[in-house]
Amino acid sequence: MTNEEKKQLQIAACKVRMGVIESVYAAKAGHPGGSLSAADMFAYLYFKELNIDPADPKNPDRDRFVLSKGHTAPGLYAALTNRGFFPVEDLKTLRQIGSYLQGHPNMNTVPGVDMSTGSLGQGISAACGMALAAKHMGKTCRVYTLLGDGEIEEGEVWEALMFAHHYKLDNLCVIIDNNGLQIDGPTKVVMDSGSIPDKLAAFGFEVAEIDGHSFDQMEAAFARARETKGLPFAIVMHTTKGKGVSYMENQVGWHGKAPNDGEYEQAMGELRAQLAGLEAE
């Protein structure tokens, strides 16, 4: 990856973060913490990895992305709008009556959303169904799904992982946002899942463990994923919940609440400064 390419991804990620804050602030509700931890991944997926076209969002041969941790819709929406799927000003209608930007993603209303999600554990199953169907239909498209590390407490996730291995879904890439926090507290306190990479490997996955804020490591992991044949691929990314907004970082309280006026100004100030810094480079 060239430095310029990396800078452009950093700018995209910063704009995703600004979109998250703008939309959640306007909605006075939503989930900023996990949207921000995954913001770099959203940027990488939508600005580099996925074979998609905002002008043709229903192209049958496009790559699919399923946001299994559907509550981080603000991050997905911000990525989609910055990639040109819908007007950026619509972000401020998030969660409002009449808006197509529902609290959790709706595939029938939001351009670029491939699956309706929100009930944890189900998105990865749907992604498995897409990957299986793609293989069956002889399509070369790939399927990506992003899960939370709290979400993997759902038993269905492990049913889906077994399924992915059984059907050798090497066109599937499962990404786990390992930010270590869920609504009720640290994952280790609420329900300790132990070693996530070891468990995924035991379920027959090829696993990459990366820094979820490093585009270089994402690039390497996705390259490995594409090269892996006969096995499904998983990326466990270590992230900081709330990443990019100082007072939200690693604070479980920011899992699912909106900033007030002062907090909004501070967050946007920090992000604007980051963006200005990047653009001045």
Binding site: S116, A126, K139, E156
Partner: protein, 318 residues
């Protein structure tokens, strides 16, 4: 009915899937380790590359089917009614119903006639659960001919469909040569003016038998086969309400939330004066035993339908 052909609707379902698979490449089938019982193995034998076992994981199966449907395939997902509608309810609701994806759920072993397996497997709640999901079509066929036509109609219908089939062999009551099926349309099998019996599944044959017995006693019974529970053929229900003034509903399901309640709601909201009596499982769990004995014990029989018709006859029209 000694020389009437009998076949379980799950058997018919398997045969119908095989026929459908021959005609349509986009039909795929998911099962959850019950292929021999749901009879999707009939399809599997013909089209092994289009049959996918999901193991004992019904929730995952339903959302997998949703994902496959989003790619343009037409998945039929099968398990016992208890697990398809019960265990996997939330996946059906959120991953199939909410996005209105084109998944067909073929649920076998519905109702008390599951028999020996007992209450844990005797699902008498599936109509109620599935009816509550917006946009879901809910159906239960009476015999082999209807099952095969219904499966084809489900394929042609764009959107989610729940079909419930039975474990036990049931008499074939339709003449295939003169039969057509339409989703949402009930069928008057026998005309009558005193009382209308609206039934589905294996209770349809019982209703016909009850109508025969009652005819000998001078009671004229209209028998309506209501294979589609949702959307309900309200026009046919209200016609019966107006013309007969008395309705008995009969289904192999809890009296709560099924065909009976759907008919009651249609009649009550219409303002047509009509007394309705529901036959079904009366808010209790089943237990182990031979299917035929259980059906009698739970009042899901021609005898009980006849008794109930006579009970209603005691009420005057005004």
């Amino acid at each position: 009915m000694a020389d009437v052909k009998k076949i379980a609707t799950r058997e018919s379902y398997g045969n119908a899937l095989k026929e459908l698979g021959a005609a349509h490449e986009d039909v795929i089938v998911f099962d959850a380790d019950l292929s021999n019982a749901t009879k999707t193995n009939t399809f599997q034998k013909a089209y092994p590359d289009r049959h996918f076992n999901c193991g004992i994981a019904e929730g995952n199966m339903m959302a997998v089917a949703a994902g496959a449907a989003s790619m343009g395939l037409v998945p039929f997902a099968s398990s016992f009614a208890m697990f398809a509608a019960g265990r996997a309810f939330e996946q059906v609701r959120n991953s199939i119903g909410y996005p209105h994806l084109n998944v067909k759920i073929g649920a076998t072993h519905g109702g008390i006639s599951v028999g020996e397996d007992g209450a844990s497997h005797q699902c008498c709640e599936d109509f109620a659960l599935m009816r509550s999901i917006p946009g879901m079509v809910v159906m239960s066929p009476a015999d082999d001919v209807e099952t095969r036509a219904m499966v084809k109609a489900a394929y042609e219908h764009e959107g989610p469909v729940y079909m419930r089939f039975g474990r036990s062999a049931v008499p074939v009551i339709h003449d295939e040569a003169n039969y057509s099926f339409e989703i949402g349309k009930g069928e008057v099998l026998r005309d009558g003016a005193d009382v209308a019996v609206i039934a589905n599944g294996l209770l349809v044959a019982e209703a016909l038998e009850a109508a025969d017995t009652l005819a000998e006693q001078g009671i004229s019974v209209r028998v309506i086969n209501m294979a589609t529970i949702k959307p309900l053929d309200e026009e046919l229900v209200l016609k019966a309400a107006k013309e007969c003034g008395k309705i008995v509903t009969a289904e192999e399901h809890s009296v709560i939330g099924g065909l009976g309640e759907a008919v009651c709601a249609a009649v009550a909201e219409s303002g047509v004066p009509c007394k309705v009596k529901r036959i079904g499982v009366n808010d209790e769990f089943g237990h182990s035993g031979p299917a035929a004995a259980l059906l009698k014990q739970f009042g899901l029989s021609a005898e009980h339908i006849a008794e109930t018709v006579k009970y209603l006859m005691a009420f005057s029209a005004d």
